[in-house]
Amino acid sequence: MAARRPLYYDSGNLREMSEAMITSIQNRCVYVYGSDPSVTLSVVGSSGTLDSMSDTRMQAGTDTTDSTNFDTESETPNISQVTPIVFDKISQVNASLSAPTDTNNRLYPVYYDGSGAVQAMTATDMFDTFITQAITTLVDGNDRDGTFRIHTATSLTDHTLISSTPVFTDTRADVAAYTDAGIPETRDQPTTITNYYVFRTNQGTAPSITVPFQVTTGNDLQTYSASAFDAMLLAEMRHHTVNTVGSRITYSINGTGANRGTGMVDTRLDGSGNYQQRQDGPSGSPSTVYRTQEFPNGSPQTINTYFLKITRS
């Protein structure tokens, strides 16, 4: 660890940055990362790189018919769970990047070494001073510039919808769709409870910073231009978030790390079945058909909750 205190211009003097100034630059790293994140999520049709999620729901049992009387509830097939609907739509894409080139060993800000020298920071110094803290902020679970999250609507303030295709849909049996008069009802009559979408947190307001000195090609000290400093910070952030072990931003479904947005809940009705009968014809007529069927019923219960997680690994 070699966190440094960069030097800046202060009314004709060289001065070491305060902790607050360094923190501002760390926040600036988060901000610039938001302009061009190196780790992105996309919505694909199938086979996403993140773990899949399953939506489950109940369906009606098979209906029964009898020419003499109604089958009893025990004779009537029970409700059952439909084959889970698999959602495997989220892919993480990492930009292919190399470490920034520190040409002539003067790419980074300068600091006072305590022994009479003003020295340019190394890439390690830069990482230890600014980048690692910024990455920690990015993965803290809050809405950070350039990170991704889940939301239950197609719009969200300060966020950009990645795709109008939901990455997960919670469905349940539509109880209201099943009626005794409708026997034989179609067994699987779902209704959508909630759709979940991926959003990217937009780049926010630029934190105000004090721009430090760097060593010029003429071996002088000069304050970076704001744009050059931002570009340098962005390059560092993009590189470390995809290449540096322990600092790579990684998304997962229910992996380690902080939750990003709303949990995607798979709910299902918990009833054992609503036994219903339908007499199709007058009683005693040989043509009369006695029908029974069990419909999904009960209260919705959470079967599983899937969180989009973010961590550094």
Binding site: D102, D113, G116, A117, V118, Q119, A120, M121, N219, L221
Partner: protein, 173 residues
Amino acid sequence: MAVTQINLSDAVTTLVTKTNTIASDLGDKALLSTTDKTNLVAAINEINTQVGKVDSADVINLITANALDSSEVIQLLADTTADANIYSNFQKDSANGIGFDSSQGRFFIPPNTINASMIELNAVTEVKIANNSITEDKMADDAISSVELKSLSTLLIKDSAGSTLKTIHGAGV
């Protein structure tokens, strides 16, 4: 006054009178102020010897011997009644920065006349220079090195590999 002459025809009384006149004209040798009072020739020779002394030591001795103070010397030099005014022989030497005030009878060095050639090499020592008087313009370009700085403080600018890119020297406190 005519020269007293004795004629062969003069009476004894006239001879007596003329002899006394001659004696009076010669004076009493005992009253000579010369050192040698033996006779007039000796006295005159003594004076002649003194007149022949013209080098500075002789002049000083002469002045001393005659108990002349400085004002009397100046008065003597400035006496315009002399056959030749001594002041008139004094000359200024402007080329070498020497002026002459004829009214005061003194030489002087006018302002702004001492040039570089008048100062001996290495003659201007530290004590001849007033404190805090060396201005920036008096410093030659590229003349001050780090060893002249008081309480030298040095700042290095290094690249991230630790190689020194620039060395900056400054005076300490």
